[in-house]
C-alpha cells in the first residue's frame, strides 16, 4: 500500500515536472512569432541568440531581437541586463556605428531587442564583430563574435560629411513594405562625435524628393519632409509613391536654421542628389 502510494506520488511528480517544463518550453518558443534566427553566440556559461525579420543582418538599419540562455539550466534568462558594442575592423582603424541600448520587449519574458545601423558592409578584408556584455544577478559576463553584414541590394543608408565638417549618417527604417500610397516614412539621423560614438542628431530636417529615373525622372506629390516630434526620436514624414517600380529618394539634410548641410535639389540640370535612398517594389 505504502509502496503504491509512493509510486503514485512519484508518477504524479514526474508528470507534473515534465509537463510544466513542456509548457514553459512552448511559451518561450512562441515568443519569437515570425522572427528568424540570425546567429548564436556562446561562451562557457551562456548562449545568446540573435533574431530578426530576415535570416541575416544587413547594411543599414537592423532591428535585432535577442534571447539569452543559461547553458547549464537550458532556461532563457528573463532578468539579464544587456548592452552591446558593434565594431568594424578596418585595415587602418576600428570604428563603431549608431546603435541603441538593449531593452526588454514589452509583454515578453525572454525577448530583448535593440537597433543597430551598419553604415558600411563588410568586404574581403574588413569585417564587423559584436561585443555583448551582460549582467545577471550582479555577475558580469561578456562575449564577442564576428557577425556577417553583407551589402544591401538597394541603398538604405547614407554616410557623409556635411558643410559644417561634421559626419552624419541617415538610415531608412520605414517603409519596409512600400505601397502605391502616401507611405509613412521613418529615418534615423545620427552624428559622428568620434569613432565610437554616434548619437541621435536632434532638431534637423530631412527633405525628400522621390523620383523615377527610368521614367523621365518624374516625381510625386504631397511628400512630407521628415522631422522629429521630440528630441532623441526617429524622424518621421510621408513618402508619396504613385506607381510600382524603381524609385530614388533624393535627400537633403537641413540643420535647425534651415541651412542645407548635404544634398542638392533635383532640377532639369541636376538629375539626382548626392545623398539618396533606393526603393523598388
Amino acid at each position: 500500500m505504502k509502496n503504491s502510494i509512493k509510486l503514485i506520488v512519484l508518477l504524479l511528480i514526474s508528470i507534473g515536472t515534465t509537463s510544466c517544463s513542456n509548457d514553459s518550453e512552448n511559451t518561450l518558443v512562441n515568443e519569437l512569432g515570425n522572427l528568424k534566427k540570425i546567429q548564436e553566440f556562446t561562451n562557457a556559461t551562456h548562449s545568446v541568440e540573435l533574431y530578426g525579420t530576415k535570416t541575416t543582418l544587413i547594411q543599414g538599419h537592423n532591428e535585432v531581437f535577442l534571447r539569452i540562455k543559461d547553458l547549464t539550466t537550458q532556461q532563457y534568462i528573463q532578468n539579464a541586463n544587456m548592452s552591446w558594442l558593434p565594431l568594424m575592423h578596418m585595415t587602418m582603424h576600428t570604428h563603431s556605428c549608431p546603435y541603441s541600448p538593449i531593452t526588454k520587449v514589452a509583454n515578453k519574458q525572454t525577448l530583448y531587442k535593440g537597433d543597430i545601423v551598419f553604415q558600411m558592409a563588410q568586404n574581403e578584408t574588413e569585417y564587423w564583430d559584436l561585443k555583448i556584455d551582460y549582467q545577471i544577478n550582479g555577475e558580469e559576463y561578456s562575449m564577442t563574435q564576428v557577425i556577417d553584414v553583407p551589402a544591401s541590394p538597394k541603398r538604405n543608408v547614407t554616410s557623409f560629411m556635411g558643410t559644417d565638417n561634421k559626419r552624419y549618417i541617415i538610415a531608412l527604417l520605414e517603409p519596409t513594405h512600400p505601397r502605391v500610397a502616401l507611405n509613412d516614412m521613418i529615418v534615423g539621423v545620427y552624428k559622428m562625435e568620434n569613432m565610437m560614438s554616434f548619437p541621435v542628431q536632434d532638431g534637423y530636417t530631412v527633405k525628400i524628393d522621390p523620383r523615377m529615373p527610368g521614367m523621365g525622372n518624374h516625381g510625386s506629390p504631397n511628400n512630407v519632409h521628415l522631422s522629429q516630434s521630440q528630441t532623441g526620436d526617429l524622424y518621421k514624414g510621408k513618402l508619396s509613391l504613385t506607381m510600382t517600380g524603381y524609385w530614388k529618394i533624393n535627400l537633403q539634410l537641413a540643420n535647425a536654421s534651415g541651412d542645407i548641410l548635404k544634398g542638392e535639389e533635383v532640377t532639369e540640370e541636376n538629375e539626382a542628389s548626392s545623398i539618396f535612398f533606393e526603393i523598388e517594389f
Binding site: 505601397r179 502605391v180 500610397a181 502616401l182 523615377m212 529615373p213 527610368g214 521614367m215 523621365g216 518624374h218 516625381g219 510625386s220 506629390p221 504631397n222 508619396s240 504613385t242 506607381m243 510600382t244 517600380g245 524603381y246 523598388e280
Partner: protein
C-alpha cells in the same frame, strides 16, 4: 484620277435612287430624326448618299452633333458642343460606357450602320429619358424584328473606298413568321492608312473590324413579345494618328433580353422591360510607334449591367411615359510602363482605380395636347448615383492626393424640362426650358495621371466635385409650305459648377513630355449658345436643295472660350431623284475658327470647303433588289482639318467609293 471622275459622271448621270416608303431596309439607315417633340410618327425617309458610311459620318449630318476625330475610326460625338461626360449615348435604351481613358472607344464605335434603323438625337433635357444629361442624348435604335418582311429576307453588301483602300463586306439574313423572327447581321471592314489632300499619307490610321449581331423574338399570347439580342464587335490594329498610342484590340459583347406588351384597347399603349449586360475590353499599346520615350501597355475594361422598364400610355389629351432605369458599371484601367533599364522592374499603376457606379432613377414625361395647334410637353427625372473605389491599391493611390477621401460617394440627381409647341398656318414655334444635374464621370472624379495629348497635361480626378448643373432655354421656329421647309433652333445653356481641368503648379507631372498636372475642378459657371438653321427646298419635282448652317459660342466664368465650339459650319446639297436614279452634289465647310481656346489647348483652325458628288441606281426584280452607289468625296482633294480634329489631324483627301447592296425578300 480624272478618268475616275469622268467615269463616275457617266455612270451616275443625274438621277435619284431612293424613295423608299418602306422602312424595313436592312442596310440603309431610315431617318435622321432630331427630336424636338417626343412621339413623332413615321417620317419622310431620307437616306445617306453613301449607305455604307460609318455611323460617325452619318451622325455628322445632324446640326446638333459634332464629332471629335482622333483617327479614321471611332469619333467622339458632341451634342450642343458638349462632350460625352455631359451627354448620354445609348443603344436601344441600354447604357454603355467606353473602356478607354483617352476616349478612343465612344459607344458609336461598337455598332455598325447596317444594324441601325435610326439614331434618335435629343437636345438638352428632352434627352433625359435614359439617364441624366445636360447636353442631350443619342439613342441608337437597331432594326425592329416586328417590321421585317414575312419569310426569309436579307442581303449582301460590299463596298470599296479608294483613299484608305477600305474594303467592306457584310450580309444579313432575316426570317419572320406570324409569331417569331430572327435577324442576323455581320459586317467586316478593313482599311489601310488614309491620305489627306495632296496625297499626304497619315500614318497609323489603319483599322480592321468585324461586327455581328443576332436578335431573336417570339410573339406569344396577344400582343406580348419576348426578345433576346446580342452584338459582338471586335476591332484590331486600330490606329489613332492624333494620339501617341494605338489600339491593339477593342472588343464588345452587348446582350439584352426584352419583354414587351402592347395591348390594343388599354390606357397602357406599350410596356417594355429590358435587362442587359455589356462588357468592353480595350487594349492600348504603342508597339507600332517607332519613337517613344518609354513603352507602355494601357488596358481598360468597362462592364455595365442594367435594366429599364418603360411604360407609355394615353389618357384623354395626355400621352405619358414613365421609365424606371438603372445600371451598375465597373470601370478599370491600368498602365504598365516597360523599363528601359533591364536592371529596373516595370512600373505599374491604375489610371481608373476600379470605380463602381450604381444608378437607379425614374423619368416621367407627359405630352399634353392643349388644343388642335398647341401642345405642352414636360418631363421630370430623379435618381440616386453612387460611386465606389473598389480596390485598396486604387484607393491608396487617390489618397495620395485626397488623404481623407472615403471610398463611397452618393449623389441625388434631378432634372426637369418643358417645351411648348404652337402651330399656326405654316409655322411652328417651339419654346423650351429645363434644368438638369449630372454626376462627374469616372475620369473627372477618379482619374489618376491620365495624359491628355491635346493640351499635354496629366489629369487628376477630384472625388470632391459637386454635381454639375445646367439651366437651358431654347427657341425654335419651323416653316413648311408646299415646296419649302425651314427650321431654326437656338439653345442657350448656363452650366453651373462647370467641371474642367485647372493647372496645379505644385504637383509635378508624370508622363514624359507633359507640361504639368491639371486637376478637375469647378468653375462657377459657363455659357454655351448653339444655333442651327436648315432648309429643304424643292426646286423642281425631281430636284431638291438642302442646306444647313451651324454656329456656336461659349465662354467660361473667366471669359475664356470653351473648347470644341463650332465656327460657322455650312452644308449645301442638291439632290436629284428620278425613277431608280439618284444623284447628289454637296459643298460643305467651315469658316475660320476665331473663337478658339488656347487655355484648353486649341489653336486657330483655318477655313475650308470640300465638294462631294455621288450617284446611284437601283435594279429591281420580283423580290430582289440591287443598289449601286458610287461617288467621290472631297473631289478637289482639299487638304483640311476641322475644329474638332484632335491635334489638327487632317481629314481625308479625295476618296472614290462604290457600294453594292443586294437584298432579297423585301
Amino acid at each position: 484620277m480624272k478618268k475616275y471622275i469622268l467615269l463616275t459622271f457617266f455612270l451616275g448621270g443625274f438621277g435619284w435612287l431612293w424613295a423608299q416608303e418602306k422602312d424595313n431596309d436592312s442596310i440603309l439607315p431610315v431617318r435622321l430624326n432630331e427630336i424636338v417633340v417626343i412621339g413623332r410618327g413615321n417620317q419622310l425617309h431620307e437616306k445617306l448618299d453613301k449607305p455604307l458610311a460609318t455611323l460617325d459620318e452619318y451622325l455628322q449630318r445632324s446640326g446638333t452633333v459634332d464629332l471629335i476625330k482622333r483617327g479614321s475610326y471611332a469619333w467622339e460625338p458632341l451634342i450642343n458642343s458638349m462632350s460625352t461626360e455631359r451627354t448620354v449615348i445609348s443603344i436601344d435604351g441600354m447604357r454603355i460606357f467606353g473602356a478607354c481613358t483617352d476616349k478612343m472607344d465612344p459607344v458609336t464605335s461598337y455598332v455598325e450602320i447596317s444594324n441601325l434603323s435610326e439614331a434618335q438625337i435629343q437636345s438638352g433635357q428632352q434627352g433625359s429619358c435614359h439617364g441624366p444629361t445636360l447636353g442631350g442624348a443619342i439613342d441608337l435604335k437597331r432594326h425592329s424584328g416586328e417590321k421585317a418582311s414575312m419569310g426569309f429576307s436579307g442581303g449582301i453588301l460590299t463596298g470599296y473606298e479608294s483613299n484608305a483602300k477600305q474594303r467592306i463586306l457584310g450580309g444579313s439574313v432575316k426570317y419572320r413568321d406570324s409569331s417569331f423572327y430572327v435577324l442576323s447581321n455581320i459586317t467586316y471592314r478593313k482599311a489601310e492608312n488614309y491620305q489627306a489632300g495632296g496625297q499626304r499619307e497619315i500614318k497609323y490610321s489603319q483599322f480592321e473590324k468585324i461586327n455581328s449581331s443576332i436578335t431573336v423574338g417570339y410573339e406569344f399570347l396577344q400582343n406580348q413579345l419576348l426578345e433576346a439580342s446580342f452584338i459582338f464587335d471586335e476591332a484590331q490594329d486600330v490606329g489613332y494618328p492624333a494620339l501617341p498610342m494605338d489600339v491593339s484590340l477593342a472588343k464588345a459583347w452587348i446582350g439584352s433580353v426584352k419583354y414587351a406588351w402592347a395591348p390594343k384597347k388599354h390606357w397602357v399603349k406599350h410596356w417594355e422591360t429590358k435587362l442587359y449586360a455589356n462588357s468592353i475590353t480595350h487594349f492600348m499599346d504603342d508597339s507600332k510607334r517607332p519613337d517613344v520615350p518609354i513603352r507602355m501597355d494601357m488596358p481598360g475594361w468597362s462592364d455595365t449591367y442594367g435594366y429599364y422598364s418603360k411604360i407609355r400610355g394615353n389618357k384623354d389629351a395626355h400621352a405619358w411615359t414613365v421609365n424606371f432605369n438603372g445600371f451598375y458599371n465597373r470601370s478599370l484601367a491600368e498602365m504598365t510602363m516597360f523599363s528601359n533599364n533591364p536592371n529596373e522592374p516595370d512600373m505599374f499603376m491604375y489610371t481608373w482605380p476600379d470605380i463602381r457606379t450604381l444608378y437607379n432613377g425614374v423619368f416621367v414625361e407627359d405630352v399634353i395636347t392643349l388644343n388642335c395647334h398647341q401642345t405642352l410637353h414636360w418631363n421630370l427625372g430623379m435618381g440616386v448615383h453612387q460611386n465606389r473605389v473598389n480596390n485598396d491599391f486604387g484607393l491608396a493611390s487617390l489618397q495620395i492626393f485626397y488623404p481623407d477621401m472615403p471610398s463611397v460617394n452618393t449623389r441625388f440627381l434631378k432634372s426637369v424640362g418643358t417645351q411648348f409647341n404652337h402651330h399656326w398656318n405654316d409655322f411652328k414655334l417651339l419654346l423650351g426650358a429645363g434644368y438638369g444635374e449630372r454626376a462627374p464621370s469616372v475620369s473627372e472624379g477618379y482619374a489618376f495621371y491620365i495624359f491628355n495629348s491635346y493640351d499635354l497635361f496629366d489629369y487628376i480626378g477630384n472625388p470632391n466635385l459637386k454635381n454639375e448643373k445646367s439651366l437651358e432655354t431654347s427657341v425654335g421656329l419651323e416653316y413648311q409650305k408646299s415646296s419649302l421647309k425651314m427650321q431654326f433652333k437656338s439653345s442657350y445653356f448656363r452650366l453651373l459648377d462647370y467641371i474642367i481641368g485647372i493647372p496645379q503648379n505644385e504637383w509635378l507631372p508624370m508622363t514624359i513630355g507633359a507640361q504639368g498636372i491639371k486637376q478637375y475642378q469647378q468653375l462657377s459657371y459657363a455659357n454655351l449658345w448653339h444655333n442651327q438653321f436648315s432648309w429643304e427646298f424643292k426646286v423642281l419635282p425631281n430636284l431638291r436643295w438642302n442646306g444647313q448652317l451651324v454656329y456656336s459660342l461659349g465662354t467660361d466664368s473667366e471669359n475664356r472660350n470653351l473648347p470644341f465650339l463650332s465656327p460657322l459650319q455650312y452644308r449645301n446639297e442638291l439632290q436629284f431623284k428620278k425613277d431608280d436614279w439618284v444623284a447628289t452634289a454637296s459643298v460643305l465647310g467651315n469658316a475660320t475658327q476665331t473663337q478658339y481656346s488656347p487655355f484648353y489647348g486649341e489653336n486657330r483652325t483655318p477655313a475650308y470647303a470640300i465638294v462631294n458628288l455621288s450617284a446611284g441606281y437601283q435594279l429591281r426584280w420580283e423580290k430582289q433588289k440591287l443598289q449601286i452607289q458610287t461617288g467621290v468625296e472631297n473631289v478637289l482633294d482639299t487638304f483640311y482639318a476641322t475644329f474638332a480634329d484632335w491635334n489638327n489631324i487632317p481629314r481625308m483627301g479625295r476618296n472614290i467609293f462604290i457600294n453594292l447592296n443586294f437584298s432579297f425578300g423585301e
